[in-house]
Structures are given as structure tokens and as C-alpha cells.
Symmetry: C2
DNA sequence: CGTGCCTTTGACCATTTGGTAAAATAATGG
DNA sequence: CCATTATTTTACCAAATGGTCAAAGGCACG
């Protein structure tokens, strides 16, 4: 799926150009949305000609799909690392920090994901209903276990996870708004401190 | 600004059709974004012909601008109601509830706003830096005052406000994801309970 | 009921845009 | 160095799209 047109192993130049294209596409897709992005835009940003894009990807949809599929792994990973054997509060806070770092280091990816979801997740609905749901169910059970054992204050584990997503991604997706209000260089240090306080007070027994 | 083409008072039919257009446009803009929406789409949804749209609005941009400007008032209102004279915790919780209700009742507006911000707020940056910033500064000062008086636990008031926005809007903007994970009819009752718990534990002295 | 204005429409355009075809230009392996 | 394959470009196209225009249809009101 999403393999190079020829079914051979990709050459060095293939790899390089594919990466360039995906990077350029991430820029524009995350900023202007799928329909708001033109192939010419991507091509120019990638330093290639439009037909050359098509040589590497089967079309605009294919580029977008490749981006989303790459993104999904990065996106779900941090939640997987939640360790049932760890210290509950520390596990949650570590997850929050991982997720916040993701927002800080990959804001374009965050916005691409956000746009996809806001538009009804037309390309990844299936993944959400299967992979994501399965993962969340599993981790919610772990958290619920901690609460049942009295190691965390009780709270709906699903909405807890939602709130972590929401709060951390906010600093990437709504960066413009945050900046407009704070007029601060970098909101992340304060954000990290605030979120640590928030989840500590929420979950401390 | 955004007035009917003739500078006369709008007739009954003008009002009706303008409203139809804006409603149809809200549907499509919030779902497909600005570039992803076509005039034909709006026209069809509004039950009008394309040239007829142009008769009522100066173009696609004008429709979008009209929507955004309408939206902004609705969006900032709940924050204005924060009353310095009220009981602090109740004021905050009431604000959370108002904001959550907005997400529930106006999800299209929420998504339109989100898309605009994610794309860098090209049309409303100025408003964010002036009106919104001014308002937030003012209300943050009130909250800070409550904390200084020991009536709320200390926390960064700006990030507190951000977290309220983020958490409440999440249920509108990321509705698709929430539904995919929960497979529940309506997430709002549980969300309201969760958020009340969260902010109570965060801010209780 | 007729006149003048508001509203609507059908036909039409220019531009943009995703994508193609084929020729031209590098690479690469023997 | 040649032949073959991989890559890139030039010239195009068909469809979609935002928008125009002039004519036709309604409507209100004297």
C-alpha cells in the first residue's frame, strides 16, 4: 500500500524526493487543508515539477494518504507506552509530557490530524473505530484499574484521555490564538507546568 | 461592512435568503473548509442558483466573512459574562458549562472557528490580537484576583482559560473521534460531569 | 392594471487545477 | 562506451470553479 509505482526497492533518489514531497505537502496540507492545497504549491515547495510529483505519487490523494498513514503511527505511539506496571500518577504525567512534546515538535502533523478529524475523518474513520478504539479501551482499563485500587482519584478514564489529547494538541493547533493572547515567545514551558498541576490535582488521591 | 448591495433596509425576502445562504454556507465551510467549498454546493444547499448567491453576497469571500463576523460575537460572549462579584468557583464552572453548551448547540460554528485558527487565522488575526486579547487580559485579572484572595487555588489564569476553551471545544471539533472511541450516542452529559470534577479539583482551595 | 423595481435565471467566460503523453535527459549496469 | 532503465521536463487537456451579464419573471403600489 502506498508503495512506489514500480514494485522494486526505492532508489536513493526516490527516497530523497519522496521525502521532499511529503515534507512540502505536510506544510501546505496542514496550513490550507486538502482542497486548499494545489499540486503546483507542493511541487514548488518541494523544488520539483508538477508532473514529477505524479511520477512519485499516484496523485494528490495518494500524497495525502501517505502523510496521514505516516502520521497515525507517530500519533498513537505515546498512548501505547502507558505502562500498567508503572507508578500511576507518574505514568499519566509522563504521557501528558510526551503528548505535549509531540505538539511542540510536530505542530504541522497535529494540525493535519486536527483538520482530518474536524472534517469528519473521511480517510481514517475506519482506523479510529478499530485501532484507536481498541487501544483506548485497553489503556482506559488500565487507568480504571489504578482508580479501583485507590492509586488515582476516580474520574472517567475515557474523558481523562480525551482531556489529555485536547489540552496538549491545543498548543499546536490553536497556536495562533495562544500567541495572539499571550504575546509570548514560547507558551510551552508554562503550558507544561500548568498541565502538570492540573492533572496532579485532578488525580491525586 | 457586509451590508446588502443596495444601501436600503433589507426586505423580508432578502432576510430570508441571506439567512438560508449563511446557513448552507456554514454547513459546507465547517465541513470542507473555505477552499473545499464550492459556490454550487452552497447554492444547492440553500435552494438557490449560483448567480443568485452572488446577488446577495459579493462573492465567496464575502459569505465566509459574514459567517466569521457573526460567529465571533457568539464565541466571545460567554467569557464576558464572568462576573467579578460572583462566587469564584461557581463563576468558573458556569463559564465551563456555557462554553460546553455552545459546543453542543453550535458544533458547526465551533468547527468553522477551529479551521480558521488552525489555518493561522488569516481573516481574524487582528480581532484576536485586539478584542480577544483585551477581553482575556481583563478576565484573567479577575481570576488572578480570586486566587490572590485565596478563594481559588493558584494556577496560571491564562492557561486556565485556554484549558476551558480546549476541553469544551474538543467535544464539538473532534466529535468524530470521540464518537469513534466511545460508540455512545451523546458524550455531553458525561463530558459535563467530568469537566466539573476536573475544574473543581483544580481550583478548590 | 401598469409601471418600476427587486429577484431569478440561462448562457457564457476566464482561470485554475489535477492530471497526461511523449520526448528529452540523467543514471546505471555490463 | 553502449544499452537500458529511471527521472525530469515541455506542452497539453478536460473538468471544475468563481464569477459576469443581459434578459426574463415577480412583486408592490399608485
Amino acid at each position: 500500500m502506498g508503495d512506489p509505482r514500480p514494485i522494486k526497492k526505492p532508489s536513493r533518489i526516490q527516497l530523497r524526493n519522496r521525502r521532499r514531497i511529503l515534507d512540502a505537502a505536510l506544510d501546505t496540507f496542514s496550513q490550507f487543508g486538502f482542497r486548499g492545497t494545489t499540486l503546483d504549491q507542493i511541487a514548488k515547495a518541494a523544488g520539483l515539477s508538477k508532473p514529477n510529483l505524479i511520477y512519485y505519487f499516484d496523485g494528490k490523494e495518494a500524497i495525502h494518504a501517505a502523510l496521514l498513514s505516516e502520521l497515525l503511527e507517530t500519533w498513537l505511539d505515546p498512548l501505547k507506552e502507558l505502562d500498567a506496571g508503572g507508578e500511576p500518577m507518574e505514568e499519566i504525567l509522563a504521557y501528558v509530557r510526551r503528548k505535549l512534546r509531540l505538539s511542540q515538535d510536530f505542530p504541522r502533523e497535529s494540525r493535519l490530524f486536527a483538520t482530518e478529524i474536524i472534517q469528519g475523518a473521511p480517510h481514517i474513520q475506519r482506523v479510529l473505530e478499530t485501532d484507536l478504539k481498541t487501544l483506548v479501551d485497553k489503556q482506559a482499563r488500565i487507568i480504571q484499574g489504578w482508580m479501583n485500587d485507590g492509586r488515582l482519584a476516580p474520574a472517567d478514564p475515557y474523558h481523562l484521555i480525551f482531556s489529555i489529547w485536547s489540552l496538549t494538541q491545543h498548543y499546536a493547533d490553536f497556536d495562533t490564538q495562544v500567541r495572539a493572547v499571550l504575546a509570548t515567545e514560547d507558551a510551552f514551558p508554562a503550558a507544561e507546568a500548568y498541565l502538570e498541576t492540573l492533572f496532579t490535582r485532578l488525580l491525586k488521591v
